[in-house]
């Protein structure tokens, strides 16, 4: 019987949760790298037992861990992330120039075809790549050295490259997003980049429709339609039907269009999920009710999914990389909270069950569907 493996990164370590196709009982291993922040873990689509994890602390910096056996054992690999050439400056919070400085790896995106090739999105924003299983990392400098780079500013969480989406139909096409510069696309495997923010409006910046400066929180794509992108922005849920060349708002009837994660159903490309929260500073669900919202029409019309989720006194957040879907026949949806809960639904969000309730704050959730 097929099964699933959840990769959960938290403020104090990593956990691997496994279940069979019923997704009713879960085995939990961890914490791996106890005491360290694990911003993200992800498995290779080309070899499900090959996993990569970003492990860091403010004390001892960045490490990358690799597993070749599905998370049973791990080995540290290369952790040297050095910008290409003289990195120059971006803009600081106060508008002054600020030197680019590596802080951590936010997101790891393994190649769709090669287990040894992985992209890393880092803070301060840049894209790195390894082609030897993580031993050595090299920057793809065309992004950071884009003409707009000196004007990029950090968001509240730092100037992080947090989203990397690889196009399964166009191997040279990569989408990335940076807080708070916006979304960019490369059509030549990362050599050159184009801002793809036309249609985004952000009232918090001097020119609300500027080419860059938007606080994009996450981008999601269905592999069958890589030209259609869905975006959760700081405010506003957006979609693009032309690979990011232009965007339109699809927030519709959401109670608030602020949020962090967004994801797409594994088998229904027009079914998408978000978790609306209050902001700018509260960052918890409206009315203390934890609700996932689902649209089956690619946006605009949304329904709250509440069955099994706390509907009173709930004040947790769900971070940008903390939602994932499996690809079993009945699509599973999973998300983790800053309160340490991981919720799962084996029926596309109709009903939810807490898989764990007392983890450290969850930073990321990824899922692998196993044969």
């Amino acid at each position: 019987m097929s099964g699933v493996r959840l990769l959960v990164g938290t403020r104090k370590g990593a956990f691997v949760l496994t279940s069979d196709g019923k997704r009713e009982r879960w085995d939990i291993s961890g914490p791996h790298f106890a005491g360290w922040e694990v911003y993200h873990m992800k498995g290779s689509p080309a070899d499900p037992n090959r996993l990569y994890a970003s492990q860091s602390t403010g004390w001892f910096g960045q490490l990358i861990q690799r597993s070749k056996d599905g998370g049973e054992t791990w080995e540290p690999v290369g952790n040297k992330f050095v910008y290409d050439g003289v990195p120059g400056t971006h803009m600081w919070y106060d508008g002054t120039p600020h030197s680019w400085k590596f802080a951590r790896v936010w997101h790891l995106e393994p190649s769709l075809t090669d287990p040894d090739t992985v992209y890393a999105g880092v803070e301060d924003a840049a894209l790195f790549r390894t082609t030897d299983g993580g031993q050595n990392w090299e920057e793809l400098p065309g992004l950071r050295t884009h003409d707009s780079g000196p004007s990029w500013q950090p968001g509240g969480g730092g100037m992080c490259l947090h989203t990397i989406v690889l196009d399964p139909k166009h191997p040279n096409r990569i989408f990335i997003a940076i807080s708070a510069a916006g979304a960019f696309r490369s059509d030549d495997a990362g050599k050159t980049w184009k801002p793809i923010n036309h249609g985004l409006k952000s009232e918090g910046i001097p020119n609300p429709s500027a080419e860059v400066g938007h606080c994009v929180h996450r981008i999601a794509m269905h592999k069958s339609r890589p030209g259609v992108l869905f975006m959760q922005k700081h405010w506003d849920v957006m979609r693009s039907d032309n690979a990011g060349d232009s965007w339109q708002e699809v927030s519709g009837n959401l109670p608030t269009d602020f949020g962090f994660p967004i994801d797409v159903h594994a088998h229904e490309p027009e079914t998408i999920y978000v978790v609306p929260i209050k902001s700018d500073s509260e960052h918890f669900p409206p009315d203390g009710k934890l609700r996932v919202y689902r649209s089956k029409s690619g946006g605009n019309e949304w329904e709250p999914l509440t069955k099994g989720l706390p509907q009173r006194d709930c004040y947790v957040n769900v971070l940008r990389d903390a939602m994932a879907v499996d690809s079993l026949d009945s699509c599973g949806v999973y998300f983790g909270t800053t309160g340490g809960q991981v919720y799962g639904s084996s029926d596309a969000g109709d009903t939810w069950t807490p898989i764990v309730q007392n983890f450290p704050a969850v930073l990321s959730v990824e899922v692998q569907t196993l044969p």
Binding site: G58, W59, F60, L63, N79
Partner: protein
């Protein structure tokens, strides 16, 4: 041999228990220095490269401190000689994770 005490997380990474001992290259005056100890530790345990000091600038990470013979060496220049007791191996060189955070 210089005795070095690593913080718990770095002992886990290096897969060691308790103190470690490293052969350290002395300076022209025959003395071990802060940087020579760090070089020796990183050579013996490559996994620690980048965890105590920055890969590029070689600057000490802000929340890592160096102590020896009850003195704080964290802010001293890297080529500062270590006390005779550390050089003789009667006292350890301490690499400490600062008590901060949660």
């Amino acid at each position: 041999m210089i005795r070095v005490l690593l913080p718990a997380h770095l002992k886990t990474l290096a897969r060691v228990n308790g103190e470690v001992q490293v052969e350290v290259k002395a300076n022209d005056a025959g003395q071990p220095t802060i940087v020579s100890v760090l070089d020796a530790i990183e050579a013996r345990y490559p996994v620690l490269q980048g965890t105590i000091r920055d890969h590029v600038t070689q600057e000490r990470r802000p929340f890592v401190r160096f102590f020896a013979c009850e003195e704080d060496y964290s802010l001293e220049p890297p080529d500062t000689p270590l006390p005779t007791a550390v050089a003789r191996g009667t006292e350890p060189f301490l690499i400490v994770g600062a008590m901060a955070g949660g």
